[in-house]
Symmetry: C2
Subunit: 307 residues, 2 copies
């Protein structure tokens, strides 16, 4: 029975590319039938990557059948997975996020979580050098894209030397100018003109509670922050509706300026002003605040969040 | 700050030996100060192993300080760990059990769970061949003991070829007759004369719920089953008290005959008779029932348990 390999809902480049990478490995190296799937439409950067490397877009699934063999990558959080995930036959988890709790298995399975920047880096370690050398160009391109995306071309503090070394080796193998390629990817991600305000607020977001307050912590990584900031009034006006629909108290939108290595937080009300002050020691005057050096939700935003 | 490395409560050989193995690796190979700890008195087999290899008994701890750096091995179940485990600074998990859910971390950490028979096997894979070759005799002896214990000298269906190959290599390195050594270990485990009935019922047990019924699923692996069966009346009489004290509905005691590769389940009442019939298709007449081939709680008992 073919194993379905998928990442988290609202797939970004790592959650689109790394299932493709791992399905390739299982099929070609391990002789195990596997198919990459998506839990939603890939974001604009991931869509660019698929097209750039001529990779077929994986089928989008909305749930999994009880007992179906599945491999989960780039998350271990049941909230980011199909509703029936704990009824599926979960075979493996490969991830680089904090352990959330909630995912359960009936028997011992294969779980690899590493404090690296990117799932693709862990996969290349797991498959070993010999297998990694056999990746065709498109698969190497997908792996490289995952690492550049998750590290923001090595600018994010989540980047490790190992992620960097693997990405540079892939770029050399592909004869690719790494920085020029990263710029193309980030330009694709930055083109958010097609999205509604509500879509932008939900595009790359994770729910996180601080005490009794539930946040939707949204991040928009962009090389064109002004394009988002031009829409700040209508984005802030949409926040209350999105929060209500999603059952959270507040949406936090961090616009991450990849090139200037800073984030701008929209400040629609006193709750968010308090968050900015208590979490980042920021001095807030208007309805936005710049947080110098803040690029990573995982390393810099979530661990510091205070109300 | 020294990292504390420990396994589960009621430590068996793997939960005693593998923290010693990993602390050795961290100290000697990774230059990281680490110390093995125990969450209780080791069982008689583990105590034999410590003495046989002249290893110092790790200190027993009852809880962990908030923020203290810790590594958890041979379990991922918070119920088997110190109460404050989610307040500690959990750095790594190395395990071979099903994912239980409930363990949480603040940031991404290092988690390796593999469907192998033994934590020590996974550790030797993680450290790599070169490091494994540097293990002194006592550490190799501890690693070998963990594998022989968890696989019941390769008789348990949890055994993989990889566990077997690693153990055989260790025995060769040590110039040890593997079977003769295993027999010594199992004899140590089989000497249960010093334990009260309640201690025997709790010695190697895990709580497991089926629907609304909570069981304490206890296993006694022995080469001398008659020694336990001679006490069956008083063991069954103790079950109700132990169940009540521990907040479960029923204790299930499986006496695993290592050499004959079968388990005997004590049947004190109709609830357990039903369990024997529904879980194992057994035909129960008296107050015990023999289950041929049943050796592993993880692979054969827990997955089949039905009420």
């Amino acid at each position: 029975m073919t194993i379905q390999v998928f990442g988290h809902k609202s797939p970004d480049t790592d959650s689109t590319g790394s299932p493709i990478l791992w399905a390739w490995y299982l099929n070609e190296i391990r002789n195990t039938p596997a198919e990459a799937k998506l839990l939603g439409e890939p974001n604009t950067e991931a869509a660019f990557v698929l097209e750039r490397w001529n990779l077929e877009k994986p089928a989008i699934i909305s749930d999994v059948e009880p007992g179906a063999p599945v491999i989960v990558v780039d998350t271990n959080n049941p909230a980011e997975l199909p509703a029936a995930i704990n009824q599926a036959d979960l075979r493996q988890v490969i991830d680089h996020h904090k352990l959330t709790g909630g995912l359960e298995t009936k028997g011992p399975i294969d779980i690899t979580i590493r404090p690296l920047a990117c799932t693709a880096t862990i996969m290349i370690d797991l498959m070993g050098e010999a297998a990694a050398q056999q990746m065709p160009e498109a698969i190497k391109g997908a792996a490289l894209s995952c690492i550049l995306s998750d590290t923001l071309e090595f600018r994010s503090p989540t980047t490790t030397d190992h992620d960097r070394a693997i990405a540079q080796q892939l770029a050399r193998d592909l004869g690719l100018d790494l920085s020029a390629y990263a710029a193309e990817m980030f330009a694709a991600k930055s083109d958010v003109s097609a999205f509604s305000d509500a879509e932008l607020l939900r595009m790359d977001s994770k729910e996180y509670g601080v005490g009794d307050t539930k946040f939707r912590v949204s991040v928009l990584e962009t090389t064109a922050p002004q394009m988002v900031l031009d829409r700040k009034d209508s984005l802030m006006a949409s926040m209350a509706d999105v929060a209500k629909e999603d059952g959270v108290d507040q949406v936090l939108l961090f616009i991450v300026d990849i090139l200037n290595e800073e984030a701008t937080l929209l400040v629609p009300n006193d709750l968010v002003r308090g968050v900015a002050e208590k979490s980042f020691g920021a001095n807030v005057s208007g309805d936005t605040v710049v947080l110098p050096g803040v690029m990573s939700r995982k390393k810099q935003i979530i661990p510091n969040l205070a109300v």
